[in-house]
């Protein structure tokens, strides 16, 4: 009886591997993706599904990877111009493009798509706040009328909410998209979708860009939450591309045969917002002391394995609006002690609550390292891991009883310093994402002016943004921890990969060959 | 002519408190076609004797000496496989409480079929016919219906009849009936004993009837063996022993037996308790409770004294009288 069971077990162990390997006659690219795609609606999705959107749909303009000559390049729009006052923008559309469902791409389609996004008003749709109306002026000419000057070309290159879907698809509701349906103009189409497990894209044979030898005809997203599995997949060749592995594991991976680890700066950074309302962090001196207590060097070199860089102010280094000469705090415990003494806490003696997203080991370890430094100046750090939602609830309900330090990642919807500075630091009546509860009228004025200038004179705007940041850094409203790198692991036999931080973690498969 | 003879049987139980002596040397013979009563108080070893014969003792029991001769072999030394051929087929057993001795989850018919299948390979239809015959022969009404029911659907008496049918299934030569009527009402007891007697006569079976009830022995048995604390104290033909018990213990037991016409106050009770099996007993085990106790009773074990060819007792009272 038992022997029979054992035999069956062994047999299945032995037989099963035989079934696995199958010859492939297709050129398949496998993206080992660490999270599921929460919302496949191109209007409202503003999260990780962008890696699908970026290949199935297209935007009017395209934000080029850093290092390019131009910031933007044409995509579905071949050219565009704005009026002198930057209130009217005209886009000339690409001819001969059809959607996956056969519908023709034209000005009416663009209007219908963006109107849908604006009407739904979810996700990143707020980026269109300045649009008054959209007009299909001609078959291939579309005009935007704005109520405030704004860099609309930049807005329309956004990685979220700027996708153009077919007029038929625009009539559908959210559920239709989330059932795995799509109709864009992009080089790939959704072939099958097993939510939470796997999505398969197939090449769109009628893509306006045409196809050539070596390009991939099938794309598979393997949804694997577990970094361990992702790492094993990329090592064994089961995946061609992945990211979000532990920082400490990239070193050994770079040495592994057949793999490249591509490290480029991203537009994402990690900050710790300090509560400017509640004792004792309401004191600027205390906040400065905390800024001087933070172990920047250890965090960057050890936690991020030297792959990130210490942030200098809120704007990441590779973006316009970043100031290379701005104040950068460094760890100086003596200075911190002095400042504490000046603030009336000669030996520390208070406790600070730091919250972070419970599942984020990096944020947690940032806290653990900081805690050790703070202990040396007599300050106790209580580290509290919460679900993001709970962390946020705690912050917005009542600043006076909220956490003292809020671990926070920020990334832009479209690429402008305004995203950080308005999003996190301009005064809010009700706290939303200004979770320092920072309120400085001078700062607010500078940002307002910079924002309206940026559509017309980017250099002048940049100068205003730098002035604002100087105020912000002096007030030590946040600890600017690290500008995060984008770290992507790619198999060596894939050619053509370039990271574009404007579209986080999106791989434009059309550009790749094997 | 003896069909089964038990010789010098010693059994111990291992317990966390030490060895418990259950049988301290038992001898008796079962003659063919006879009913032999094995009597004694609770704990005297009568059930252990019954189970030793079929080697059904618990794991912690151990036969330290003795011989059980059945036909030409010693049951204690047979291999287990041979033993299985003996059980049920040559020597069967009836248990005290049919409610627990019958498997609650199988119908009477299924249980009979199992026994039949184990001993007589044959067609299912033949087995079924045999089952019904057996159920009829033990006096169960409507055998076909009875075969279909579960034990809990029968009355106590019916259950015991079914149990007897099970024991008869493989046509054994010897039946060991371990307190077959103890769990039953008095009126049912009589019916079951009648049934046993009838079957014994009709089928020429030899029976060892284990009981604490001398009345049952008087009515049913030809031979009687009285056990006390793991030893035989008196044995013989019922006709010889009952009128003239020789051992004080047997006398005590018989005196405690209600007789027709006797009043409650006439009944004698033996004072004291059966000794614990943990003790070594050098002398007569009954000595502490015996009204005739003498010094030597405590020092040494009395030998058997024969009063007739069919009557023996182990007591110094008689040893003295015989030897002078």
């Amino acid at each position: 009886m038992k022997r029979a069971l054992l035999l069956i077990l062994l047999l299945s162990l032995l037989l099963a591997p035989l079934a696995v390997s199958v010859a492939q006659d297709r050129n398949v690219f496998v993206y080992g993706h660490p999270v599921a795609f929460p919302n496949l609606d191109p209007s409202s999705g503003n999260s990780n599904e962008n890696v699908v959107m970026g290949n199935v749909y297209e935007t009017l303009t395209f934000y080029n990877a850093p290092g390019s000559d131009e910031i933007l390049s044409p995509k579905l729009a071949v050219s565009w111009e704005s009026s002198e006052d930057s209130l009217t923008w005209t886009f000339n559309l690409r001819d001969g493009v059809t959607f996956h469902d056969g519908a023709a791409f034209n000005a009416a389609a663009v209007k219908k798509a963006l109107d849908r996004t604006i009407a739904i008003g979810e996700g990143s749709a707020w980026i269109y706040w300045m649009i008054d109306s959209i007009e299909a002026v001609d078959e291939l000419v579309v005009q935007f009328n704005l109520n405030t000057p704004a860099p609309l070309d930049l807005v329309l290159s956004a990685g979220y909410a700027a996708w153009i879907m077919s007029p038929n698809a625009a009539d559908q509701d959210n559920a239709w998209f989330n059932d795995g349906n799509a109709a864009g103009t992009g080089p790939y189409m959704i072939a099958s979708n097993e939510p939470g497990q796997r999505m398969v894209l197939e090449a769109n044979p009628n893509y306006w860009g045409g196809w050539s030898e070596g390009q991939f005809d099938t794309i598979v997203f393997e949804i694997v939450e577990d970094p361990t599995v992702l790492e094993q997949m990329i090592r064994s060749g089961d995946a061609d591309f992945t990211y979000s592995l532990p920082f400490d594991n990239y070193g050994p991976l770079a040495d592994a045969p057949g793999l490249s680890v591509v490290v480029t700066p991203s537009f994402q950074n990690l900050l710790i917002l300090l509560n400017t309302v509640k004792e004792p962090t309401s004191s600027k001196l205390v906040r400065q002391a905390l800024s001087y207590s933070f172990p920047y060097g250890d965090v960057v070199s050890s936690l991020y394995a030297g792959l990130g860089t210490q942030a200098r102010g809120p704007i990441p280094a590779n973006m316009w609006g970043h100031g290379a000469d701005l104040l950068q705090y460094s760890q100086d415990l003596d200075k911190a002690r002095e400042l504490l003494a000046e603030a009336g806490y000669p030996d520390g003696g208070f406790s600070v609550v730091y919250t972070h997203v419970a599942s984020d080991l990096d944020e947690q370890q940032v806290g653990e390292l900081w805690r050790a430094s703070l202990a040396e100046i007599g300050v106790d750090l209580e580290i509290r891991g919460l679900a993001w939602q709970a962390q946020w609830d705690l912050a917005i309900n009542d600043p006076a009883s909220a956490q003292d330090a809020f671990g926070f990642y920020w990334w832009p919807d479209y690429i402008t310093p305004n995203s950080w500075l308005t999003g996190m630091f301009v005064s809010e009546d009700e706290p939303f994402f200004n979770l320092s509860y920072y309120s400085n009228p001078a700062f607010d004025d500078l940002i307002a002016e910079a924002s309206s200038t940026s559509g017309i004179d980017r250099a002048a705007a940049e100068d205003l943004y730098l002035q604002a940041q100087t105020l912000l850094l002096e007030d030590a409203a946040a600890i600017y921890v690290v500008d995060l790198p984008d770290i992507h692991v790619v198999r060596d036999d894939v050619a053509g990969y370039v990271n574009n931080p404007g579209y986080p973690h999106v791989v434009f498969f059309y550009d790749l060959t094997r | 002519m003896a069909i089964l003879s038990v010789q010098n049987l010693h059994v111990q139980f291992k317990t966390p408190f030490g060895a418990v002596y259950a049988l301290r040397g038992i001898d008796f013979e079962l003659a063919k076609g006879e009913i032999l009563g094995l009597v004694g108080e609770t704990g005297c070893g009568k059930s252990v004797t019954g189970r030793s014969i079929l080697r059904l003792l618990d794991d912690n029991a151990q036969v330290t000496a003795g011989r059980i001769a059945f036909e030409n072999s010693d049951l204690l030394r047979l291999p287990e496989s041979a033993m299985r051929e003996i059980r049920g087929k040559r020597i069967a057993m009836i248990f005290q409480d049919p409610a627990t001795a019958l498997n609650p989850l199988f119908t009477i018919g299924q249980q009979l079929a199992d026994v039949l299948r184990a001993h007589a390979p044959g067609a299912a239809a033949a087995r079924r016919r045999q089952s019904l015959d057996l159920l009829a022969s033990v006096g169960l009404p409507d055998p076909a219906q009875t075969a279909k029911v579960y034990p809990h659907q029968l009355s106590g008496g019916q259950q015991q009849r079914a149990m007897i049918a099970l024991s008869l299934a493989a046509k054994p030569d010897v039946i060991i009936a371990d307190e077959p009527t103890t769990a039953l009402d008095v009126t049912i007891q009589a019916q079951i004993l009648d049934l046993l007697r009838r079957l014994q006569r009709e089928r020429a079976i030899s029976v060892i009837l284990i009981t604490h009830d001398l009345g049952v022995v008087a009515e049913t048995c030809q031979q009687v063996v009285v056990l006390y604390a793991g030893r035989v104290v008196e044995a013989g033909a019922v006709a010889a022993v009952f009128p003239a018990p020789q051992h004080p213990y047997t006398q005590g037991l018989l005196a405690a037996l209600p007789r027709p016409g006797s009043r409650g106050s006439d009944l004698k009770v033996i004072p004291g308790n059966v000794p614990s099996g943990l003790e070594r007993i050098d002398g007569c085990a009954f000595a502490p409770r015996c009204e005739h106790v003498m010094n030597r009773c405590r020092a040494r074990q009395p030998a058997f004294t024969s009063f007739s060819a069919a009557h023996h007792a182990a007591c110094f009272l008689h040893e003295a009288s015989v030897c002078g």
């Binding site: 598979v220 094993q232 917005i396 | 049920g88 609650p104 184990a118 659907q153 299934a169």
Partner: protein, 340 residues
């Protein structure tokens, strides 16, 4: 007749329990201090978006009315919509639930198929080496943390030996080149129905490791219970009677005693099934098994309480059903119970 009334009584009790669970989940969901409107709105919503969505979802209505709507939908078989993915929870569960059930059933089957004979033999030969070894294995089974065992198993069978895959339910090749036509959602069944044997073996190959890891606990429990009730059964008078009747050992052990011993073991199987679903939540995460556990773990990260509650309800219903089934099987096996 008695059997029917027995069934009705058990069903009635189950309904009472279910209503209790419903109330409890509602209470729990109401004390979660979250902001579901914001959740629904996406990664970084604007305040006005949140307000609009709260209205759309009916979150601005009084609690009693929300409860009324919730129960009404639920009785109509609608578990609601995930705030995070916006997908219908019914649709999601129709994918994830079979995956979990396939895993859990496989684990419990392994536990039963191995555990019962081993337990029977260990009970039949007490105090021997086998008994001792079995006891050790059983205790090890209930003592090993499943999530740790999963890691060790991956390390041995994937990293060292390379025999079994690291995780997931089926290989990519199978999805691409010989996909399983979905019918029941149980891959092994679906593949067998369509005679897609390549995919069948592929699915089996993926199932082995997680199922074995998950079976450790129910296996330990099954062995312990079977062994204990076997010891108990073997000390019963009817077993002595069966031996006295000269029945073969095989019949006594595997027919007579086992049928009696299986009853308490069955009760425990019901419980260990429930425990295994919970265990599956941890094991699924490690084996990237796209089941309810992974689904609900993600929901926890997003405080997606419609999902958490739906999963709780569904798992509870399964627990109740399994226990009902166990009761029915017991009543079927034991004629005495039908009278109660």
């Amino acid at each position: 007749m008695a059997f029917v009334s027995f069934l009705l009584r058990r069903l009635g009790l189950s309904v009472v329990v279910f209503v209790g669970v419903l109330l409890l989940t509602f209470i729990v969901s109401r004390i979660i201090p979250s902001n579901p409107g914001a959740l629904y709105a996406g990664a970084r919503p604007r305040p006005e978006q949140v307000a609009a969505i709260e209205k759309k979802l009916g979150l601005d209505k009084p609690l009693s009315e929300q409860f009324h709507i919730y129960v009404h939908d639920l009785l109509g078989g609608d578990l609601g919509e995930s705030y995070h993915s916006r997908r219908s929870i019914n649709a999601d569960l129709s994918i994830f639930l079979p995956a979990t059930l396939e895993l859990v059933i496989a684990a419990v089957l392994i536990a039963l198929v191995i555990g019962i004979p081993v337990g029977v033999l260990a009970g039949a030969y007490p105090r021997g080496v086998f008994d001792y070894a079995t006891r050790f294995v059983a205790i090890a089974g209930v003592s090993v943390p499943s999530f740790w065992l999963a890691l060790i198993a991956q390390s041995v069978f994937f990293s060292q030996l390379g025999w079994l895959p690291l995780g997931s339910r089926i290989s990519r090749d199978a999805t691409l080149f010989y996909p399983i036509a979905a019918q029941t959602g149980f891959y092994l069944i679906d593949a067998a129905i369509s005679a897609n044997w390549k995919a069948w073996f592929d699915a089996l190959h993926h199932l082995i490791l997680p199922a074995l890891v998950l079976s450790a606990y129910p296996l330990g429990v099954t062995i312990r219970m079977t062994q204990a009730s076997m010891l108990e059964a073997l000390s019963e008078a009817y077993v002595t009677a069966a031996r006295a009747a000269g029945l073969p050992r095989r019949v006594i052990l595997f027919k007579l005693a086992l049928k009696n011993a299986i009853m308490p073991a069955l009760t425990v199987v019901g419980l260990s099934f429930a425990y295994s679903i919970t265990g599956a939540f941890l094991v699924e995460t490690i084996f990237s098994w796209p089941g309810v556990g992974k689904y609900v773990t993600e929901a926890v990260l997003n405080v997606d309480f419609p999902v958490i509650i739906a999963v709780t309800l569904v798992v509870t219903i399964f627990y109740i059903l399994v226990n009902l089934l166990v009761d029915v099987i017991q009543a079927f096996l034991d004629p005495r119970l039908r009278l109660v």
